[in-house]
Symmetry: C2
Subunit: 438 residues, 2 copies
C-alpha cells in the first residue's frame, strides 16, 4: 500500500472548506480512484479563530502560507488564497522549489506568472494543476491538456464569466439596460461592488490566456489579449441580434490565423443555433475546434464553492495517482512567445448600428463609404421609429440603421465608419460588434 | 530520454488509418505532451493488400491480431476491429495478460466483457483506455474517471447515438415520419442497412452501461439496462412535445435512486430549455449531475473517423505518460453488482397520447382511471381534428388527447392505461413517453 498523499491547504473560504469536506466524505472513492489515500495534514488561513463548518481537529495550523508551502510533511500544496501577488505567489514558488506538487484555482496568478511557475514545476518535478482556474468544474484544462493531446486545435472560445452572461441574458430576455441588470447582479451576489474586473472583460482575459497557452503552445500572457467589455451593449443591439438570428455573448476567443495566434475578449454575435448561444445565465461554456473534427462544447458552472472544490479535489487526486502533466501541455522550452493580437487586422463579419439623421439619403452615403473600403453588406435593416413621419417640429427623425457585413478587415470597417462620422450623416457614435461564426 | 512507446494497431479502417496519420503528423506535440515519443511498430488488418492512404513503410505487418497483441516489441496494443467476440476479445485478453496496455474504441466488447478485461489490466499492470468507445472525441470517460474524481454523481444521461438524434431532429423540424427519416439516414450513411442496433436503442445501452459503471462504481453490464427504441415515435408526438415546451430525445439515463442504480434507454421528453434539448442532428451530448453542483454537459461529435481517432490517440498519449487509471474508476473489488432497473417502479412524469373515441365522455373516463391510480394530471390537451363535427357518416371522429402527468410510478400508469383500454373508450394503443426533468 502506497502512503497517503499529504495535503496542505492555504485559504479556508467557501472553496477551501468544501475541499476539506470532500476529501473526508469522499475518502473511499478517492482512494479507489487514486490508488492511495489523501489526507489533509495542515492548513492556514487569514483568521485562525474564525468559526468554520469543518472539523479541523488533528490538522496542524501553519503559521503562514510560506510555512505551509515548505512544511516537511506536505506533499501537495493547495493554494486557495487568490491574487496575482504575495502571499500566493511566493508560497507557490516555495512549494514548487521544494519539489512539492501544487494545486491552485488562482487564474490571476497563472495569467501573470504561469510560465515562471510552470518552469519551476518542470525543474523540480512537482505537478502544477489548475483545473479550477478556468470554468470551475468544467473539465476544460484536462480536455485541452490530455483529452485532445493528439489533435491540432484551430480555435478555442467560450463564455468564461458568469456575471457578464447573466447580465446579457437578462438584458435580452427582459429588454432591460446594462445598468439595471448590473445592479441586480450585484444584489444577487453575482457581481462585485466594483464590477469592472468582470464587466470590462479582464476576468475573461485571464482565463483565455490560460486556455490559449494549452491549446496553441504559446506562453501564457494576459497582456497578449485584446479586451473590450460589455458596458456599451444596449437592449436594441440584443433585439436586433435576435431578429437577425444571433445572440450577443461576451466571448474569449483564441484562434490560429495566418498572422499568428489571435487572443481577444469582446462582445460577440454568435449564431442562435450554435451551442454557445444556448448558454444562459451564470453558466459558462467553452467550445474547442479541433482539426478535422466537429466542435466540442463543454458547458457547466463556472464558479461557486462546490463546483470549484470539485475541480480542486480532482486535481489533488491526479497528484495522488502520480500524474505529472506539463502544466501548459508542452515542455516550457517548446512554448512560443505571443504577441498581442493586432485587432485592426482581424478578419470577420461585423454588426454595425447607426442612427441615421435622414434616411434614405444617409443610407446611400453609408453604403458608399463601405463600398470604398470594399466591404460587402450581407443585410441591412432600418426601421422608421414612427412610420417614417417627420417629428412634430417638421425635422427628420433619426432612424436606426443596422448593417451586417460579410467577412472583412477591421481596419476597413474603422476607416469606413470614420468617414461616415466625418460626413455628419449619423448621430452619435456607431455601435460595432464582431460576429463569430461556428 | 525515455524510450518511445511502441504501438501495435489492429484494424486499419477509417479510424485506424487516421490514428497512424495523427501519430505521425502530431509527433512533436505528442512527444511534448507525453514526455516521450510514440511510434507505430506493427499493424494488422483483414486485408494486407488493400490500398491505403497511409505510409506503412518500416512498419511490421503482424500475421493476425493475436500475434500483434503478444508481439514482444509492442508496449501498447490498439484494438480497432470492433465486435464483442473474437478476434477482438482474445487479442485484448492476450495483450493484457502479457502486461501490455490496451487502447480500444470497442463499446460492444467493453459492455460485454469490460469487468473481465479490467480485472486482467489490474492484475498485470497495463492500462485499459477506451475514451473513443463512448461519444468519440467528447472527453466523457476522462471526465467521469478523473475530472470528477472527488464528486459524488447523482445522474448521468445523454444522447449517445447520432443516428437516432438525426432521425428525431428531422422528424421534429420537417414533420416527417420515422420511416422517411430512417431512409434518409441510411442514404446519407448515418444508419446501417439493418438499423435495429441503433434505432432500437442497443448502441445507446452499451455506451450507457460503460458510463454508469464509471459514475456509480457498478459492474458494467449491458443486461442491466432497460431498453426501448424510437420506432414508435410519431410526428404528432414531436409536435405535441413542442407545444408543451419539450423535445423528444433518445436518452440513456443512469440515475441513483432509493432502490439502487437505474439504467434505462428510451425516448424521453426533455425541457426545451435544457442543454441536452439543444443538441441536434448527429451530435452527441452527455450531462453529468454531480452532488451539489449544477449540471455539466459535454457536447460534440459522437462518431466519425477523425473524432474517434482523436480520442484513441489521446488514450495512447496517456499510456505514454504512464497514467494507469482503474479502467472503471475504482478497483474491481470495489465495483458493485447491478440489477436490471425494474421499470414498473420508475418514478417520473409521463406524456400520454390517446385517440379518444368520443370526447368529452372519454376524457371523463380516462380521468377517472388515472385518479383511481392516484395519478395527478399537470396538463391535458385535446384538439378536435375538424372542429368537433361528426364525420360524414354521422359517427363521432376520434379525438387525440394528450396528457402530461406529475411524477408518479410507472406501474400506476400501466394499470390506469390497461383499464382505459378495457373500457374501450380509445382507439388503438396509448403512446407513453417518459419525462426527464433537468
Amino acid at each position: 500500500m502506497v502512503a497517503p498523499l499529504k495535503v496542505g491547504i492555504a485559504g479556508l473560504g467557501t472553496v477551501g472548506a468544501e475541499v476539506v469536506r470532500l476529501i473526508e466524505t469522499q475518502a473511499r472513492v478517492l482512494t479507489g480512484r487514486s490508488g492511495r489515500g489523501i489526507r489533509v495534514v495542515a492548513v492556514t488561513a487569514r483568521s485562525k479563530g474564525k468559526k468554520r463548518s469543518i472539523d479541523l481537529r488533528g490538522v496542524e495550523w501553519a503559521k503562514d502560507p510560506l510555512a505551509l508551502a515548505t512544511h516537511p510533511e506536505v506533499d501537495c500544496f493547495v493554494e486557495l488564497m487568490g491574487g496575482a501577488g504575495d502571499p500566493a505567489l511566493s508560497a507557490v514558488e516555495a512549494a514548487l522549489a521544494a519539489g512539492k506538487s501544487v494545486v491552485t484555482a488562482n487564474k490571476a496568478l497563472l495569467a501573470k506568472h504561469g510560465i515562471k511557475l510552470a518552469k519551476a514545476a518542470e525543474k523540480h518535478g512537482g505537478a502544477l494543476n489548475f483545473e479550477a482556474a478556468v470554468g470551475a468544474a468544467i473539465p476544460v484544462i484536462k480536455t485541452l491538456r490530455e483529452g485532445l493531446a493528439g489533435t491540432g486545435i484551430n480555435r478555442v472560445y467560450g463564455i468564461l464569466n458568469g456575471t457578464c452572461n447573466y447580465i446579457l441574458t437578462r438584458m435580452e430576455q427582459e429588454g432591460l439596460s446594462f445598468a439595471e441588470c448590473l445592479k441586480d447582479a450585484q444584489r444577487l451576489g453575482y457581481a462585485e461592488a466594483d464590477p469592472s474586473f468582470d464587466v470590462d472583460g479582464h476576468d475573461t482575459a485571464q482565463k483565455l490566456a490560460i486556455l490559449a497557452s494549452l491549446a496553441f503552445g504559446t506562453k501564457v500572457a494576459q497582456s497578449a489579449v485584446y479586451v473590450e467589455g460589455i458596458s456599451s451593449i444596449a437592449p436594441e443591439d440584443l433585439r436586433a441580434a435576435a431578429e437577425l438570428g444571433y445572440r450577443v455573448k461576451l466571448l474569449g476567443v483564441a484562434v490560429r490565423t495566418a498572422k499568428g495566434i489571435e487572443q481577444r475578449v469582446h462582445p460577440t454575435m454568435v449564431p442562435k443555433s450554435s451551442s454557445i448561444a444556448q448558454v444562459m445565465g451564470v453558466t459558462n461554456a467553452v467550445t474547442i475546434d479541433g482539426e478535422g473534427i466537429p466542435p466540442i462544447t463543454l458547458v457547466g458552472p463556472g464558479a461557486g464553492g462546490a463546483a470549484t472544490a470539485s475541480a480542486v479535489v480532482a486535481d489533488i487526486a491526479d497528484v495522488a495517482r502520480g500524474i505529472r502533466a506539463n502544466p501548459f501541455g508542452r515542455p516550457i522550452a517548446q512554448l512560443r512567445d505571443t504577441a498581442k493580437a493586432p485587432m485592426e487586422r482581424h478578419e470577420g463579419g461585423y454588426y454595425i448600428r447607426l442612427l441615421a439623421r435622414d434616411f434614405p439619403g444617409t443610407a446611400a452615403a453609408i453604403a458608399t463609404r463601405l463600398a470604398e473600403q470594399k466591404i460587402s453588406i450581407e443585410s441591412i435593416v432600418q426601421r422608421h421609429p414612427n412610420g417614417g413621419a417627420a417629428s412634430a417640429d417638421g425635422k427628420a427623425v433619426p432612424v436606426p440603421v443596422i448593417l451586417i457585413t460579410y467577412a472583412t478587415h477591421e481596419d476597413a470597417v474603422r476607416r469606413a465608419l470614420a468617414a461616415v462620422q466625418k460626413d455628419k450623416v449619423i448621430r452619435g457614435r456607431p455601435q460595432v460588434i464582431r460576429i463569430e461564426k461556428n
